[in-house]
């Protein structure tokens, strides 16, 4: 066994401490050198990766814009392998997946992005669209709504409006017309006086089966652009369908005039409009409007009564030969024996109430016979149109 003297002991201990200190120092230096080397290599490595990521991302973007989502997917995946977590690339990839028809993958990808940014308008919109594709109606609506209330970069107001319009279209497609109308009216309420937007709103409101609201927006368009062919035609059609034949007539005439003055207008007049013009002209000739002079009004009432009586007689004959008169026709027959059916011109001239009763008999006759004996033709058909909106043209 070796024995150590005190001096040896101290000297050895000092040597040991010195040796350990030097070893630690050299280890520290080696670590620092290694760190610096790794640091500089890593910087170069990172910049090279960023370069590659940018290159592939640009390729992906270009492929996506060119309508080649499959190529875009490959490029964007490569870009993401060099710049993992790069938001713009991830969004593009998710979009490309959706465009390429990989709905489930795209949905999952967007869902992953949504996890980190649940309030992002674009992500919610994309999820809404994908959920709609997957026919998950409630999820689609929820995501669309989240998108409307979400955050948008740039023009948020415009984006939100577009999403709301898209949601309305989705509602219309799923026959939820009242929800669609609500969304459209909110959009319209917040929208500026803009012709294309008003036109879109009007068209969508028409699809949502709210012609009155649609007409309001077509009128807005015409107030700003009186010669707008689309608005003129659509407004004319709606006016006609709602019994405002005088307004419809005016609008169709205006449309045709505009068409003649600028034949390059893309919206050509269809035969339906020509028919509408003819019908509305004839209706305006037939209609016993209250604004007409009394004499003229009574003449028209008598003309209408004669037409209706003839129609009733034809229908009665047709039916009695077949199976005898039905109950509604019997009621009608009873009415044709009343005073309204027999009142003379002089009586009508002196009695405005009798005029109304006679016209009511005409309308009832046209309505009932159309139900029992089929749709009428000629003037009877026009009287039936008038019967649907008896007071539409009255002030």
């Amino acid at each position: 066994m070796m024995t150590l003297q005190t001096e040896d002991y101290s000297s050895l201990k000092r040597k040991l401490i010195l040796r350990d200190s030097l070893t630690f120092l050299s280890l520290l230096l080696v670590t620092i050198v290694l760190f610096l080397m790794t640091f500089f290599l890593f910087r170069s490595f990172t910049s090279h990766r960023q370069e590659l990521a940018q290159r592939w991302s640009a390729r992906g973007q270009a492929a996506l814009n060119a309508g080649h989502p499959d190529q875009a997917i490959v490029a964007l995946r490569t870009a993401l392998s060099y710049a993992p977590g790069q938001r713009s690339c991830e969004l593009l990839l998710a979009q490309a997946l959706g465009d390429a028809g990989h709905t489930e993958e795209s949905f999952n990808y967007f869902l992953g992005l949504w996890e980190t940014q649940p309030g992002d308008g674009f992500i919610n919109l994309s999820l809404g669209r994908l959920a709609a594709k997957k026919n998950d109606i409630q999820a689609a609506i929820n995501y669309y709504r989240a998108s409307i209330f979400g955050t948008w970069q740039g023009d948020g107001v415009l984006r939100r409006r577009e999403v709301r319009l898209e949601l309305s279209q989705y509602f219309i497609a799923h026959h939820d017309l009242s929800s669609a109308r609500t969304e459209l009216l909110i959009t319209g309420g917040n929208a500026p006086e803009d012709v294309p937007l008003s036109l879109t709103l009007a068209q969508l409101l028409e699809k949502a089966q709210t012609p009155h609201d649609a007409l309001t927006y077509y009128r807005k368009v015409l107030a700003q652009e009186p010669k707008n062919q689309i608005a003129l035609q659509a407004a004319a059609r709606l006016e006609y369908d709602s019994g405002h034949f005088d307004e419809a007539h005016r609008l169709i005439e205006q449309t045709m005039r505009e068409q003649e003055t600028s034949p390059s207008t893309p919206e050509a007049i269809t035969p339906r409009y020509e028919e509408m013009l003819e019908d509305s002209t004839r209706i305006l000739e037939l209609a016993p409007l209250k604004k007409l002079p009394n004499n003229e009004r009574v003449t028209r009432i008598l003309q209408a009564r004669a037409l209706a009586k003839k129609r009733f007689a034809t229908c009665s004959t047709q039916l009695s030969v077949a199976s005898g008169l039905s109950s509604p026709l019997k009621d009608l027959a009873a009415k044709w024996t009343s005073k309204a059916a027999t009142a003379s011109r002089a009586a009508l001239l002196n009695d405005p109430t009798q005029q109304d009763s006679t016209m009511q008999l005409v309308f009832d006759t046209e309505t009932q016979t159309s139900r029992i004996c089929g749709p009428p033709t000629g003037d009877d058909a026009l009287l039936l149109q008038l019967a649907k909106f008896p007071k539409a043209m009255e002030p």
């Binding site: 280890l27 890593f42 977590g85 992953g112």
Partner: protein, 594 residues
């Protein structure tokens, strides 16, 4: 044996015995202090090397295979083949110890070469593994990182002239650091090293392992960022019935791991038994075949495959494609690994697991659409399943999934699926694959699974009811002699137990008591008072037999038999209450029965 030398490194003989001895005498607490500080340095240096290793792989990959490899590129065929040839030549002539994954090599260093891993091996492992993975061989970077970490630890600790015992312990510390940095998951790395390298929980080394793993992860994260390796999808388990689907995944994973292990255990020894010249060509042929898989469509199986795992997690493959990828990854990895190309098994295992998990998830989504789990959660559980079944590290597999996902709600599916897969693998493949590799290499490293499951014997297993006479230490010598006189066959009793007044015991030999009697005066004057030291305990002195309890390891009794022929075992709850006794013969008998 050639294979053995290829794995276990021979420690160079250094005249350090005297120095060690002297240092221990000069500065007795030095090793412990240096040990902790060095663990941090090992962690930092390992972290830096692993960051560089990963960089090297990616750089080589871009350089060799292009920035976006896609099928039908001719380079997919010739690059892995050419790289294989270079690797084979360098492995044969420059870096002969770098074959394999690195796990068994680290174990060999720990159990055979006193923790010694040469600098050359570290460099070789770094370069050749990076070249192999970067050129598209189907291998992973984690296991080589583990060996690089262990090599760094060995290198640093040797410079400090540590004792052999400490040098040995440094290897797993570095291994944990390397793995933690590669995997960005310190807990899993620590658990894996304990489960697979050390085999047992050891308080002596745990603190240092934790320190080095944390230090390396801090370094790695300062470069790569703190984000997990994969983008983790939404994980939600709403209905416990869905556990059945995960159980099915466990079954699929168990059988897949069996197939993978069988392929490896068949092909590896076959290729290693071929003539030397053909072994030079094996990595090239393997590279050509793996490249062919990529060339004809499955580029995803080339390299580590993390991007494909990420894509599988986000439902970007159809289930048939996922199954195809899993199958071809098994084939590709078997070829690459069996050919002796250096590289790890972690990443391929995770790849196969993720593909199978996503396939099961996609299948269930199609045919059982009411199940709520995302495909990503199945992929994640699948990774854990393969890890548990193939690498036989069930605890690590659970924590790995939790750590990677950062989501605790997945714990039930993971535990269930992993347990099923692990049990299937255990029943059908009793010897774990890593152990098979060591056997194939002609080594006899301890089986970690056996170590884990070894039932330790306790004192209660050898304890016998006490039959020896008990004397009270508080009695006077005279009273003791009277008590002894009651025993007619005193000469036949070799040992007595003395119960001392402090509650402790003293095992007295008959000779000691006879000596007491001999020293006692013949007649004692009745009028003289007995001094207090005249009690038996007083005469026996302050020494007592060690306090032992029934639940202590049986081996804890062994050091005391040199002094004490019989050891009393006492109750933990009641001080001094005797439960039984053990003798050396009892202990030996129990060990022989075990």
């Amino acid at each position: 044996m050639e294979d053995q030398t290829a794995m276990a490194e021979t420690e160079p003989v250094a005249p350090i015995t005297l120095r060690e001895d002297m240092i221990a005498r000069i500065a007795p607490g030095r090793e412990e202090r240096v040990f902790l500080l060095l663990s941090i340095f090992i962690g930092v240096v390992s972290g830096l090397l692993v960051v560089s290793f990963r960089m090297a792989i990616e750089w080589l990959s871009v350089l060799l295979l292009g920035s976006s490899p896609y099928p039908h590129q001719p380079r997919l065929l010739y690059i892995p083949a050419a790289a294989g040839l270079v690797i084979a030549v360098l492995t044969r002539y420059v870096f002969p110890k770098v074959r394999g994954s690195g796990i068994n090599q680290t174990k060999a260093a720990l159990y055979i070469s006193n923790g010694y891993i040469s600098f050359r091996t570290v460099i070789g492992k770094f370069l050749l593994s990076a070249l192999a993975i970067g050129s598209g061989h189907s291998l992973g970077p984690e296991d080589p990182s583990l060996q690089i970490g262990a090599g760094v630890a060995s290198l640093i600790s040797r410079r400090f002239g540590m004792s052999k015992e400490k040098l040995r312990i440094f290897a797993p510390i570095g291994a944990a650091a390397g793995l933690a940095a590669a995997f960005n998951a310190p807990i899993s790395a620590i658990l894996f090293v304990i489960e697979e390298v050390i085999g047992q929980w050891s308080a002596a080394v745990l603190g240092s392992i934790v320190l080095s793993a944390v230090a390396s992860v801090v370094v790695a994260r300062s470069f790569w960022g703190a984000q997990p390796m994969f983008r983790i999808p939404v994980i939600d388990l709403r209905d416990s019935r869905e556990l059945l689907a995960y159980a099915a995944l466990g079954v699929v994973g168990g059988f897949a791991s069996l197939l993978f292990a069988r392929c490896l255990s068949y092909l590896r020894p076959k290729l290693r038994s071929q003539p030397q010249w053909s072994q030079l060509l094996q990595p090239a042929v393997a590279g050509l075949l793996v490249g062919a898989i990529g060339y004809f469509g499955l580029v995803q199986v080339m390299g580590a495959g993390y991007e494909a795992i990420d894509q599988a997690m986000h439902a970007q493959f159809a289930w048939k494609m996922l199954l195809l990828l899993a199958l071809f990854k098994i084939i590709a990895t078997t070829l690459s690994f069996s050919s002796g190309t250096p590289g790890g098994m972690f990443a391929p295992t995770l790849f196969i697991g993720a593909m199978l998990g996503a396939a099961v998830g996609t299948f269930e989504k199609i045919y059982f659409p009411h199940l709520t789990g995302t495909i990503g959660s199945y992929a994640l559980v699948g990774m854990g399943v393969l890890f548990a079944a193939f690498l036989r590290a069930p605890l690590t597999s659970v924590f790995m999934v939790l750590e990677v996902s950062g989501n605790y709600s997945i714990v039930l599916p993971v535990i269930l699926a992993n347990t099923i897969a692990y049990l299937i693998s255990r029943v059908l493949q009793p010897i774990p694959i890593l152990e098979q590799f060591t056997h194939q290499d002609g080594l006899n490293l301890p089986s970690m699974e056996e170590l884990r499951e070894e039932s330790n014997l306790h004192l209660e297993d050898a304890m016998q009811p006490f039959t020896v006479p008990v004397l009270q230490g508080s009695e006077t010598i005279a009273d003791t002699l009277n008590s002894l006189a009651q025993y007619e066959d005193l000469k036949s009793i070799p040992i007595f137990l003395v119960h001392c007044s402090d509650g402790l015991w003293y095992t007295a030999k008959r000779e000691e008591l006879e000596a007491l009697a001999a020293n006692q005066p013949e007649e004692q004057d009745a009028t003289t008072t007995t001094p207090p030291a005249a009690t038996l305990a007083g005469h026996l002195g302050p020494e007592r037999t060690p306090v032992l309890f029934p639940d202590q390891p049986l081996s804890s009794a062994l050091p005391h038999f040199q002094r004490w022929p019989l050891l009393p075992i006492t109750n933990r709850a009641i001080r001094g209450s005797l439960e039984g006794t053990v003798t050396l013969q009892d202990v030996l008998n129990r060990y022989q029965k075990h």
